[in-house]
């Protein structure tokens, strides 16, 4: 039986399939439920300094190839989130706390507070493509990524994962910026900037116009990003984007990820996505002679 335990920059996980930020993680009860369903860990909804309503509906469009969303970072704010984190953490879940802010100070303040909720690591959402003024610029400016990461590293004692946007010319340079800022790991990728239009109504479907694409459509993009970062920068990577099956997860690990996150696939597989992906990984690893997750990491780079 393959050993599915995973480790990302000192964060030990019972298996490498984490819940991605933005999915069933605005509340403690849901996070605990996902963890109990079999996820290796859960990343919280990205939480900011103040409560935030997010965008008006429609905020979600189901497309044949994936999901388009522009929820716009709704969240209860870091103060109220304490109660949510507590429910999940005290229930035994491995929690990674995702945060955002307007600038380095805000990121640091929120991250510090989040870290105090006993999360195993803090993930910096540096990449949300649709919250106007709250990430678009940051996501596309390597110096901002470096500065924010550094500011957060100064004030938190847990590992910091910087989550990167694919909507850039060269994602590896952003991973490098995160590394310079002291990031313990990078998470790749956030959603791909996209749009859906209703011809009948002559307008974009999302109230926000633009949104982020996730799910099957972006798996080839995410794999490419992880592979590129692995080639260019020596930093642990958490892979995310279109992962549904054990095979998908293994491809990401071979591209260079040490763990993966799953979001949109909840739509097709429900909470079972975690135990199913793990079972599929385990079966495949046994059949192919891989004893542990670490043996897969970066395997596709061997020449």
């Amino acid at each position: 039986m393959a050993d599915l335990r995973a480790e990302v920059a000192g964060v030990k996980l019972r298996n490498p399939t984490l819940l991605a930020s933005g999915f069933l993680d605005e509340t403690g009860g849901s996070m605990l439920r996902v963890f109990n369903a079999g996820a290796g860990g859960v990343v919280t909804k990205s939480v900011g300094p103040e409560p935030r309503e997010g965008n008006l509906n429609p905020t979600v469009v189901e497309l044949p190839v994936g999901l388009l969303n522009a929820v716009g970072l709704p969240n209860p704010g870091i103060a109220d989130y304490e109660a949510e984190a507590k429910v999940a953490v005290s229930g035994g879940a491995a929690v990674i706390g995702s945060v955002y802010g307007r600038d380095a100070q805000e990121y640091a303040a929120v991250a510090k507070r989040m870290a105090s909720y006993d999360v195993l690591a803090v993930e910096l959402n540096l990449s949300c493509p649709h919250a106007k003024g709250l990430g678009t610029e940051i996501a596309q400016d390597p110096e901002a990524v470096e500065e924010i990461t550094r500011a957060v590293k100064k004030v938190v004692h847990v590992p910091v994962w910087s989550k990167l946007s694919p909507n850039v010319a060269d994602i590896a340079s952003f991973a490098d910026a995160a590394k310079r800022g002291g990031a313990d790991a990078v998470t790749a990728i956030n959603t791909v900037k996209s749009m859906a239009i209703s011809a009948d109504l002559k307008m974009p479907v999302l109230k926000n116009g633009y949104g982020g694409l996730s799910g099957p459509a972006i798996k080839p993009v995410g794999l490419r990003c992880v592979y590129e970062i692995f080639e260019a920068v020596d930093i642990p990577i958490v892979g995310v984007g279109g992962i549904e099956t054990g095979a998908d997860a293994i491809e990401y690990l071979m591209a260079g990820a040490r763990a993966v996150q799953i979001g949109t696939a909840l739509l097709r597989r429900g909470l079972d996505v975690f135990p199913r992906a793990c079972a599929e990984m385990s079966t495949w690893m046994d059949a192919n002679g891989y004893a542990k997750v670490g043996d897969l990491v970066g395997a596709a780079h061997g020449k």
Binding site: G22, F23, L24, D25, E26, T27, G29, S30, L32, R33, K45, P51, R52, E53, G54, L56, N57, P58, T59, V60, V61, E62, L63, P64, G66, L67, N69, V71, P74, N75, P76, G77, D80, A83, A196, S198, D200, L201, M203, V205, K207, G215, G263, T264, L266, L267, R268, G270
Partner: protein, 261 residues
């Protein structure tokens, strides 16, 4: 996932049900079951959850003019007006038992009407206790009456019992012959119905409402304890609700903060 893409459909009929509610009919793909809901995109305004009050094409929803979007819809929508729909979402009422009682308050009737008809079609005798503020708001009565006996209540006494529908329901339940209860309406009302049914050991299904964003079980907006009203619900059994810390007490606001219901 293509099956639940947003469909833009022209309204085929707009029926005024009362001073502040209308039924909108349209044809769309999908086979909703009683109690399921859709996300209704009111262009330029909002996208909000609505129960199917008619299940087969032309499907229908019965909408109370409640806030900005639903009022804008009522003002603008006539035959040919286009809305977006995606669904069906959520679970459905279980059509089981040997004698059923539906308890509806106000526009909650929109969610139970199709179930009431489904009980009748399944030859399970069903009666409905239906309350509203005033006579004019007692909608869809023709369909209810075809399905079974109807017991009315109005806050102002303009029709049926003068007072709460929960009183009517309590009396009917006291009769002791119902072995299935379903309910939809204001949460305080449903809480009473659920408590009453639970107290008598009668299975009860309640159709809940929570603020919804995605409607498809991913965003966590509609959470009730650790269940999702959009995906695990909207219909919950009395047993589960008896254990709920949120039901009748707490809801989440649009930011996800837990606030008093």
């Amino acid at each position: 996932m293509a099956s639940r893409a947003t469909q833009v459909v022209p309204l085929e009929d707009v029926v005024v049900e009362c001073h502040d509610a209308k039924t909108y009919r349209f044809s769309a793909d999908g086979e909703p079951r009683p109690g399921q809901f859709l996300m209704l995109w009111i262009p330029r305004r909002d996208e909000v959850p609505m129960a199917y009050s008619y299940l087969r094409n032309p499907m229908g929803i019965t909408v109370r003019e409640y806030g900005d979007a639903t009022r804008a819809l009522a003002a603008e929508a006539k035959k040919g007006y286009r809305v977006g729909v995606r669904g069906p979402y959520g679970n459905a009422f279980a059509i089981e038992g040997t004698r059923a009682l539906a308890v509806a308050g106000g526009v909650g009737i929109a969610s139970v009407i199709a179930a009431v008809e489904a009980f009748a079609e399944a030859n399970i005798p069903i009666e409905t206790a239906f309350g509203a503020r005033t006579k004019d708001e007692l909608m869809l009565l023709d369909r209810l009456k075809v399905a079974g006996a109807v017991h009315l209540a109005t806050d102002d006494g303009t029709a049926g019992h003068h007072g709460f529908v929960t009183d009517v329901a309590a009396k009917l339940l006291a009769g002791g012959t119902f072995d299935m209860v379903l309910t939809c309406g204001p949460e305080v009302m449903m809480k009473k119905v659920v408590d009453a049914a639970n107290g008598r050991g009668v299975p009860v299904q309640a159709s809940l409402e929570r603020y919804m964003k995605c409607g498809i079980g991913i965003c966590d907006a509609c959470v009730l304890d650790d269940r999702l009203v959009c995906a695990d619900g909207p219909i919950f059994w009395g047993e589960a609700l008896a254990e709920s810390k949120d039901f009748g007490h707490w809801r989440r606001n649009i930011c996800g903060q837990r606030v008093k219901a």
